[in-house]
Amino acid sequence: MSKVSAIIPTLWKAKDFTDHLVDVLVEDVSVGEIIIIDNAPTDFLYNHDKVSMFCLEENIYVNPSWNLGIDESSYDKFIIFNDDIIIPYNFVSQLESLLTSDKGVIGIDAPSVIKVPSFDGENITFLDRKIELKPTTNRDWGFGIAMAGHRNSYYKIPENIRIWYGDDYLTQMNNEEGKVNYVIDDIPIFTKMSATSDLEEFSEIKNIDTLMYDRFVKRKE
């Protein structure tokens, strides 16, 4: 059976969300492995044989974490998660057959992203229907909070784009390869959005990322 590598970079800013996310993925038979890129190690480890934790000496930031997770993954299909989201049980199982090499990357539709102030057990659900995809030409808000695809649709993100624009880069690279990117239609994803990336300490990196991504886009024009 084909399986999916799940990749979660984390700084543990929303641990109750992350704990539940890992639990959902442990329970999902289509998830072959869960790779946690731990950018702020403490004495905590998830104790399950599906879980690999990469405890880093310093924060390498989110886009390099995605690259590392893909490098270390064992399966042809991947899904990358923000650490502060609630997905339904069975989400990856419903998605797995759609992760084919002829598609670009598959993200979340902006209207399906539901911001919540804190973790709430009432938002825990079981996905008992098929996932439908909508083609998209633009990378809209919320796209990259959960992003999946075939390994052939992942392009290593340049090291100088560290936190923002990783999903822009992947969608653009797939567009250039003639692949269509998609969003998942009408499945609610709850999030304590930007629990990490809104931190003041990252504002300077945002400026650099913007500059570097602009240069990348201009080189392509």
């Binding site: 959902v24 004495d43 480890l45 104790n47 934790m53 990469f54 880093l56 659900t125 079981f126 996905l127």
Partner: protein
Amino acid sequence: MAKAKVKAAPKKEITDTVDETITREEVKETKTEPEKAPPTPKASNVEKTESFTAAFKNDAHSAVDHFLKHNTDNPEEISREESDAGDAGVRVTLTYK
């Protein structure tokens, strides 16, 4: 529950081996069994909230109106609630689907 599988990181900038000071803890047990969780609703049927803050009440409501008018997903307004935002003025919280 099986033991955690901890891989040594392969890159120069990350640890070569797992820090020996790290101890293993049990993962939190599932609070909700998957099959007992309620079925996932459509996102379009889930109520959402968005807050808009402005110095004057009318401006906060105008921001809500703008959000509703220019959102291509045609959100349906459920309710609005005003609250005090302190020095920032008035906060209007929109609930919509």
